[in-house]
């Protein structure tokens, strides 16, 4: 515990932690500022313009509407005959509505969870950086050798160096997610466009935030382990970037069936509490090969196991390597 306390002090003394926190807060502040604009209800000018366009469309509809509906029903009937099953072209919903001409501004209740999930990767990435630099900087500058001449028990040393960034990541990620949740709710409440935020939705939001905080801590720990393994901040972060942004995107496009095994898919499933992905499945039919996208679900449980096992492997590997490696 003494070593962990010293590591926490060391991290607290690092200016980088402050810079990362400020960077994270600045990034989410930009997101909240973006939300400020999307949360705004239509202005008087937008309403007036929409009303004018609606009236023009209504006038055209009154002249041509009956024919348009008739044409629609005919096409619908032809398609139904061709496919041998009932299809609905929505011919009864063709009459113009005013909201068609208003800028679309979904209420917070519709986008709260998806927005949080997309922003969650900001603090997680920042915590990864904190973890990587915590150990890689020490190894690349040689200060680790000074440390080991004072504390030669390597397992304790490496565990303290992995655990400390994880602990630091907890309040930092919580703070950033608190700003995001509060910021989103604040700007939508200001504009009166929250919609109905039910207790159930608040619970879902809270769980997303809690899981993100946990992921932030895990990212810091894994980052520390990667720093131990790779010894250079740029190498470790470069590897993460190349894997998650380049390799996984290529795999996602070329081998879609690998999606449930991709890191990014599992991270999304963890944060959102499960996620859907589509795989194009083809079969032979009378008209030739028929393909359709089939939706699959990656559950929170499956993502937990994937991420947990992956993190454990990296942490154990880092510990074993550090125990045996020559330190310069």
């Amino acid at each position: 515990m003494r070593l962990l306390g010293v590591e926490l002090r060391r991290l607290a003394a690092r200016r980088l932690i402050g810079f990362v926190l400020l960077g994270g807060l600045a990034a989410v502040a930009l997101v909240v500022v973006g939300a400020w604009f999307t949360a705004q209800p239509p202005t008087e000018a937008q309403l007036a313009e929409a009303q004018t366009m609606f009236e023009q469309e209504l006038e055209y509809w009154e002249q041509e509407g009956d024919q348009m509906v008739a044409d629609c029903l005919e096409s619908e009937e032809q398609e139904s005959e061709r496919l041998g099953e009932e299809v609905d072209f929505g011919c009864d919903q063709m009459a113009p509505q005013l909201e068609w001409f208003l800028p679309y501004a979904p209420p917070l209740e519709e986008i709260f969870t998806s927005s949080l999930a997309s922003v969650a990767f900001i603090p997680v990435l920042l915590m990864l950086i904190i973890g990587v630099t915590a150990t890689a900087a020490e190894l690349s500058t040689g200060t680790m050798s000074t440390w080991l001449t004072f504390v030669p028990r390597r397992t304790r040393v490496v565990l303290s160096k992995i655990a400390a960034p994880a602990l630091v990541a907890l309040p930092l990620t919580a703070l950033i997610m608190g700003v995001v949740v509060g910021g989103f709710y604040g700007v939508y409440a200001f504009h009166g466009t929250t919609g109905t935020i039910s207790a159930e939705l608040w619970t879902e939001v809270a769980w997303i935030a809690v899981r993100t905080v946990g992921l932030g801590a895990a990212a810091a720990a894994v980052g520390s382990a990667l720093g131990v393994l790779l010894r250079h901040t740029a190498v470790a972060l470069g590897l993460v970037f190349v894997w998650s942004v380049v390799v996984e995107q290529i795999l996602r496009g070329t081998v879609p069936r690998l999606q449930p095994y991709l890191l990014t898919t599992n991270l999304l499933a963890w944060v959102q509490g499960g996620t859907e992905y589509w795989i194009n499945e083809c079969r032979d039919s009378a008209d030739g090969v028929f393909c359709e996208g089939v939706e699959h679900t990656l559950s929170l449980g499956a993502a937990s196991i994937y991420l947990g096992v992956g993190a454990a492997v990296i942490l154990v590997l880092a510990t074993l390597v550090f125990r045996r490696r020559d330190v310069g």
Partner: protein, 313 residues
Amino acid sequence: MGQTDYAISTRDLRKTYRGARGRHVAVDRLDLRVPVGGVHGFLGPNGSGKTTTIRMLLGLVRADSGRMRIFGQHVPEQLPEVVGRVGAIVESPKFFPSFTGRTNLDLLARAIDAPHGRVDEVLEATGLRERGADRYRGYSLGMKQRLAIAATLLKQPDLLIFDEPTNGLDPAGIHEIRGTMRRLADEGRTVLVSSHILAEVEQVADTVSIIGRGRLLATGPVADVIGDRTAGVRVGVAEPERARQVLETAGLLVRVEGQHLMVDGERDPARISWLLGTNGLWVNELAPVRVGLESVFLELTGSSTLGAEGDVR
């Protein structure tokens, strides 16, 4: 002497590095013994295995084979038990550059649970009290070295290991470090100082071990190992040509070096002075010329190469 009479002892210690160009033997069956108390010089040319040996003793590098003890305790297995008695600076001092000197020491002090106030004491002892609040990256090389010594003193160690401590220091810094090592030894501690400069070790060490190509070449009191290795005597005299004839007549080997004479192989300046004086030649300079480390190595190894052993494929 028993094992506990030695601060450090190694037996058949070996370390091989593997690289793109094959294997390289850094330390080869090294038997090193550093007696308790005094300053022990650990001499060898660059690449001879000094730093690797020190790193192995401190558990930073794994030995391929062999045994090591510090104060009778097997290392690295029992290093945690004995590390509190060992302070070490390996190569250049390494601290967190963005932290102050005091913060760097404070973190180390907390890691070993040093008594409260110990950081102030060691800052005071090394003359860094006024600069403790400055960032380490702003320190001069001498201050960095002093901070490293301050760090070693946090433990109040019985054994101090300094690896090339005067590298890059100005003469004042070298003098200061030399004085510090001597003072620490006089306080009853054991100091192991590695160097590739013969004169540096000679001035401060009580005992010495010389290694070359990872192997022990000689060990013992300084006087026995390198103390009488005089290359010759440099003579300044008003009539060098007549002086040369006098000395050669006496059977000495004499070379003319500019306005001076160099009497090779003669270790007794008094004899030269007497020979010249009895012939009415008065010397204005009479200086024994010491051999360099290179010469000692050449003599000990009988080899023309001084560095580490070559690559082994």
